[in-house]
């Protein structure tokens, strides 16, 4: 890269990050002499954060949470897309189940945490199950919508090329629905993070949610702040990972869209 190119990049980065850096600095300065127990100085929070969560961290609360999320989310993703494909292929079944599916989609998943608690008791199974259950519905509904919106001309084309039904499904219908499936997966991830935390706050003996609720109950507000920070970082990191994976998987979609826009 040329030198002026580097400079321009730096300038663009600075142009978009100055406010962010400024706000963090402001927080640091304003909180530095804070005596409110609720709002400890950022300096103190970061110090405690280092003690609890970084390399020498005492707390391992994050690992179980992420394991629950990963397993539950994976189950929901696979099941959601699979069931959606079946519902797409069998319109009668889709019509028959749609009121129930819609009800469960609209139902805020956290209301089922007490029921899951009653069913599975306190522990990893409960967290994983409720995450899988909650993520499943947005993934399912978006996938069904995407599948149903398949371009009829593409289906005609598949028929003229002589593609069999399974191959049409695999090579035409599923790829065509993938952008909306990804939208459902993104919505599912948001729900999953909320459920991960809430389920642990209500019924777990470990995990980040449990850590935060313990800190809150023990009036360890600095610890609680580090938990909030961890959640913010985890949420952001998962989001960045997701968007990156999405850009990679749907390269054709974003490419085609930007071309269509330019015309």
């Amino acid at each position: 890269m040329t030198r002026s190119g580097v400079l321009r990049r730096v300038a663009v980065l600075a142009g978009s990050l100055w406010l962010f850096a400024g706000l963090v600095a402001l927080w640091w300065v304003l909180s530095d002499h804070s005596r409110s127990p609720y709002f400890p100085p950022l300096r103190v929070i970061l110090h405690r954060f280092d003690q609890l969560w970084l390399f020498s961290g005492e707390s391992t609360g994050l690992d179980p949470s992420l394991v629950h999320l990963a397993i539950g989310y994976a189950i929901a993703a696979v099941a959601g897309v699979a069931v959606a494909t079946v519902l797409y292929a069998v319109p009668l079944l889709r019509e028959a189940t749609s009121p129930v599916v819609y009800f469960l989609y609209v139902l805020p998943a956290p209301v089922l945490i007490p029921a899951a608690l009653a069913l599975f008791g306190i522990g990893a199974t409960m967290s994983t199950a409720i995450i899988a259950f909650g993520c499943f519905w947005p993934i399912l509904l978006n996938a069904v919508d995407g599948l149903r919106a398949t371009d009829t001309l593409k289906l005609d084309t598949a028929r003229t090329l002589g593609l069999s039904y399974p191959r049409t499904l695999w090579s035409v219908v599923l790829p065509g629905a993938s952008p909306q499936m990804v939208a459902g997966l993104r919505a599912g991830l948001q729900v999953g993070i909320v459920l991960m935390v809430v389920s642990e706050e209500v019924g777990a003996t470990n995990g980040i949610g449990n850590f935060i609720i313990q800190a809150q109950n023990n009036f360890a507000f600095t610890d609680m702040w580090t938990g909030i920070l961890v959640l913010a970082i985890v949420g952001t990191a998962l989001n960045v990972l997701f968007v990156g994976a999405e850009r990679l998987a749907l390269r054709w979609y974003y490419g085609a869209r930007s071309v269509a826009r330019a015309r």
Binding site: F20, P110, L112, P114, L119, V202, I228
Partner: protein, 252 residues
């Protein structure tokens, strides 16, 4: 309707025959009876009112703030570029993260619910508003300029209507998010409402499970009503917009 009856029938069948564990899954019949008992109590309606109140006020608060802030940011390129990373970061911060803070600072009152719901609504929506305002069609903008439409009138007559589809979509999604966070605030934060009643019923043990599921049913129905309103509203307000035309075209 038939499907709903069939689903209820299936529920009854599975629980009454013992295919599902009766200790943790009450029968459909006992659940509906618990619901029926509740319908005549005033406490039941108060509970629904508390949930709807938190949802509606939080949505209104977060929504208004998002439209105002989003428009202000969207009208300036510098502002939208500078604030984008901050907003994107804060949006990615799960709103659930601020719940403990809201609880310790604000207690279990309405303010806590509103803070949480408002926060959850604000960030996704403000991004939509900024997009909407920035996406003003240049031809429309030029037309407005040649017609000498300026200032506040330009904002109200040109900018806001063209951002409306983005805002409406954002609101519809926010309405669902708001309900989730409202329930969480009641469940964890102990604020009064449906979430709290569900948790209390669970804590009271298996005899109260029918009541718990009755409240779950009510929450789902509430969800359908509240989000359904927004879907209908979106369609009515935006009947002129292309996305709606395409929608109808596509279903032909």
């Amino acid at each position: 309707m038939l499907v709903v009856l069939a689903a209820l029938g299936l529920w009854q069948l599975l629980t009454a025959t013992g295919a599902l564990n009766r200790a943790s899954f009450p029968t459909m019949w006992s659940t509906l009876r618990a619901l029926g008992d509740q319908l005549t109590t005033s406490g039941f309606w108060t509970t629904i009112g508390q949930t709807v109140e938190g949802w509606a006020l939080g949505l209104a608060l977060g929504g208004t703030a998002a439209v105002l802030v989003g428009s202000a940011i969207g009208l300036s390129r510098l502002a939208s570029r500078s604030t984008a990373p901050v907003i994107e970061f804060l949006k990615a911060v799960p709103s659930i993260a601020i719940l403990p803070l809201a609880i310790v600072v604000l207690g279990t009152h309405l303010q806590m619910k509103l803070t949480l719901v408002g926060y959850a609504v604000f960030f996704p929506l403000v991004i939509q508003v900024v997009y909407g305002v920035r996406a003003l069609d240049p031809t429309v903008a030029d037309t407005a300029t040649t017609l000498q439409v300026r200032g506040l009138r330009r904002f109200l007559v040109v900018v806001l209507p063209s951002a409306a589809p983005f805002i409406a979509t954002g609101l519809r999604i926010s309405a669902a998010t708001a309900l989730i966070l409202e329930i969480v605030a009641e469940l964890i934060g102990g604020a009064p409402g449906l979430g709290q009643r569900i948790l209390l019923a669970e804590n009271a043990g298996p005899t109260m499970f029918p009541l718990m599921y009755a409240f779950v049913l009510v929450t789902g129905i509430l969800g359908i009503v509240l989000t359904g309103m927004f879907t209908l509203g979106e369609r009515r307000v935006l009947h002129w917009h292309e996305s709606q035309r395409n929608l109808r075209g596509a279903t032909r």
